[in-house]
């Protein structure tokens, strides 16, 4: 098994762990943690393909990863801001209880 396949498998496993976390956990913040893991798995794929790809000097994969890190940080900030606001309004971060659209 080539090193690239190894990295891809690790990224795939990381992605599915993140997905499992996002789907099964009850606390909103842990869903966000799951999403962060999925994003990171994607970054790992990008850099693995860049490293073992045909033209590493073009830096495309790495640039994608750096931009994706920046965007993911922004997303995490806004996501957590939303979670805090929901908690302040509905006094719970339990996703199963947030099923009412009432304002």
């Amino acid at each position: 098994m080539t090193p690239l396949a190894g990295y891809l498998l690790v990224a795939a496993l990381l992605f599915s762990i993140g997905l499992a976390g996002a789907l099964t956990r009850r606390n909103a913040i842990l869903v966000l943690i799951g999403i962060e893991l999925m994003l990171n798995a994607a970054n790992l794929n990008l850099i693995a393909f860049w490293r073992y790809g045909p033209h590493p000097e073009a830096l495309t994969g790495m640039m994608f990863a750096i931009f994706s890190i920046a965007v993911a940080a922004a997303e995490a900030a806004v996501g957590l801001g939303l979670v805090i606001q929901i908690h302040r309004h509905a006094h719970t971060t339990d996703l199963d209880q947030m099923n009412r659209m009432k304002g």
Binding site: A5, A12, T24, N43, V78
Partner: protein, 166 residues
């Protein structure tokens, strides 16, 4: 496949699993930090030095602390009374396992065509700087705009309403 790769991959996956399975939310956040650190080591293993340090700086330095602050602000550190997993947790698990099966199959099928061993590209920060300024200058400006918008948006969303609770 070097031993170092297995060790770091094991650390990352253990951190990720712990982040998803642990009961205490703050422990999950700390396990998430271990996963981020493992990923940064993986990036360094892939000779992407700048991405590895940026990952540490951004994720461990900022996002992990942000997650932990959010947990404390929403009183998440007390263990919830009615269980940690949502009601239909089995469905989630099955879907995740399905996704992994598909991805794993795809990777293993195409394993033969993947390049074996290529020379490690030496990437200096100068090249990244030049690339950022020449080819990726538009994405850079857009990300700068996005970060500012996210900064202001997050503050406005999480700000106390002056006129008290609705």
């Amino acid at each position: 496949m070097s031993l170092v790769f297995y060790a770091i991959a094991g650390l990352t996956l253990a951190g990720a699993l712990a982040a998803v399975l642990l009961k205490n939310t703050v422990h999950c956040a700390l396990a998430l930090t271990v996963a981020f650190a493992g990923l940064a080591l993986l990036f360094l293993e892939l000779d992407a030095q700048f991405a590895g340090f940026a990952q540490i700086l951004v994720y461990i330095g900022a996002v992990a602390v942000l997650v932990v602050f959010a947990i404390l602000l929403t009183r998440g550190s007390e263990t919830p009374k009615d269980g940690v997993y949502s009601r239909n947790w089995l469905a989630g698990l099955v879907i995740a396992a399905g996704v992994f099966a598909v991805l794993g199959w795809a990777v293993l099928e195409s394993a033969r065509a993947l390049p074996h061993e290529t020379a490690a590209p030496t990437v200096t920060v100068l090249q990244i700087g030049n690339a950022l300024m020449s080819r990726y200058v538009l994405p850079l400006e857009i990300v700068a705009l996005l970060l500012t918008a996210a900064l202001i948006g997050a503050v406005i969303v999480a700000m106390h309403e002056k006129e008290g609770q609705k």
